[in-house]
């Protein structure tokens, strides 16, 4: 699994296209012609992975949005982002 930190900046891999349909992410991987439908959480993370904001900024937003403790979000978000990066859906920007 790719180690990520709060200052890591992620973006969708170049061959990934995605849209949010009724809260879920429809992800197309152009190279492999693969279509994935991912959860609401994945949809939110994909939308946040703009290649500019570090993961720490996502955590601030998500903590506000879901009114949960930032620290408790951190581990889950880092793990999930690392999974998406490990799958080649997200990549480290820059």
């Amino acid at each position: 699994m790719i180690p990520l930190r709060e200052d890591s900046v992620l973006r969708p891999a170049p061959d990934v296209r995605f849209r949010i349909v009724d809260g879920e992410a429809v992800v197309v991987r152009q190279k492999s012609s693969e279509v994935l439908v991912m959860s609401e959480v994945a949809a939110r993370i994909l939308a946040l992975a703009d290649g500019i904001r570090p993961i720490g900024a996502w955590l601030d937003l998500l903590a506000d949005e879901f009114e949960v403790d930032r620290a408790s979000l951190e581990r889950d978000v880092l793990r999930f982002a690392a999974e998406l990066a490990g799958e080649g859906i997200l990549e480290i920007a820059g």
Binding site: P12, P14, R17, F18, R19, I20, V21, D22, E24, V26, V28, Q30, S33, V35, V37
Partner: protein, 351 residues
């Protein structure tokens, strides 16, 4: 949720998911049976309008964007528009005659537009037949050379073909040619009238024997006998016959919005309204959505054979004036598909 369930949701809940844009009716070929209404007049959408339109589509979470024409590469800002479509995260398909896909243009399409798929048109297995249709000598050889170049560049290509009286004896050759290039091919056995209702293209509609031979060949090679949607999706099992106006629209170069590329019933115009306003407010679209539900009942009345009709309400409208009228060509298709299926004891393979 599976992808099929997502598609079902887009059809059922009217979620715009796929858009086909005819950027221009200009073309470097002169195909005899081209369906474009070349007499249509209006103010072409400007490049700035297209860019705003694409942004609106991205905001609406449209995934599939097909750039078509005419010949889309003939639009002076094709690369700019294609690159912006890529930037906005669309799955871009390009429907081209392939004539200009060579050299620097081909490389720039790959590098700047990065299309998911390029669909090119093949009209025969020989230069004589292909060029008879395109009315441009040398277009067959040029297409083959360009296809090899595009494949060398690593782009994904699909061949689209329409069976006609002129090429029906070359169907096997077309399948062989596609196989020799390692490309999928979809041969549609229906010639349609032009978008303005002109029936001249029907003068080269294939014979029943030609359609039968095509289906036999396709069945033998396990090639699709069904017509795929422009976004490459399969029919979604809901209470509508198709996604026309429910999950997709088509737009002509003058901003007219239609439920589908084949259903030329204008439901709005982008010069006057945004796509978001048209999508939620058009009475015409509401009507179309109702008609696709009625069309499903008409097709279901054929029982299990109905699926072989490949019925298209848009085609019905232009052929008969009634989008719910099951036209003879669809019935012919159903009958011949069933025969081919019975002969092989197989089910047709969907694209």
């Amino acid at each position: 949720m599976s992808f099929t369930e997502v598609l079902r949701k887009t059809w059922r809940d009217n979620i715009l998911f796929s858009v086909l844009v005819e950027l221009t009716y200009r073309c470097n070929l002169d195909c005899f049976f081209c369906y474009n209404d070349l007499g249509l007049r209006g103010e072409p959408l400007s490049t700035e309008q297209y860019l705003r339109f694409f942004e609106d589509l991205a905001d609406l979470q449209v995934l599939n964007l097909t750039l078509s024409g005419g010949e889309p590469l003939a639009h002076p800002d094709f690369l700019k528009l294609g690159a912006r479509a890529r930037e906005l995260g669309f799955v871009v398909r390009v429907k081209s005659n392939g004539h200009a896909l060579r050299g620097e243009m081909a490389r720039r399409v790959r590098d700047e537009v990065d299309p998911f798929l390029i669909e090119v048109s093949l009209h025969g297995a020989t230069a004589a037949t292909h060029d008879l249709q395109t009315r441009v000598p040398g277009s067959f050889e040029r297409l083959l050379a360009n296809l090899r170049e595009v494949l060398d560049l690593g782009m994904r290509v699909k061949i689209n073909s329409t069976l006609t009286r002129w090429n029906e004896d070359e169907a096997e050759g077309m399948l062989d040619l596609a196989a020799s290039l390692g490309l999928p091919i979809q041969i549609d056995p229906e010639v349609t009238p032009k978008d303005d209702g002109d029936r001249e293209p029907l003068s080269i509609a294939p014979s029943r024997e030609g359609v039968r031979r095509l289906f036999d060949l396709q069945m033998a090679r396990a090639v699709s006998v069904a017509r795929g949607a422009d976004d490459g999706t399969l029919p979604a099992p809901v209470e509508k016959h198709c996604g026309a106006g429910s999950a997709g629209v088509a737009v002509d170069p003058f901003g007219n919005v239609y439920p589908c590329v084949q259903w030329r019933r204008a439901v709005g115009n982008l010069h006057r309204q945004s796509i978001g306003e048209i999508w939620t407010g058009s009475a015409g679209l509401q009507e179309v959505r109702g008609l696709t539900a009625e069309a499903k009942l008409r097709v279901d009345a054929f029982g299990p054979s109905g699926g072989f009709l490949n019925f298209c309400p848009g085609s019905a409208a232009v052929r008969t004036g009634d989008p719910l009228n099951v036209y003879p060509e669809a019935v012919l298709r159903m009958e011949e598909t069933e025969k081919a299926v019975r002969k092989k004891g197989l089910l047709p393979i969907l694209p």
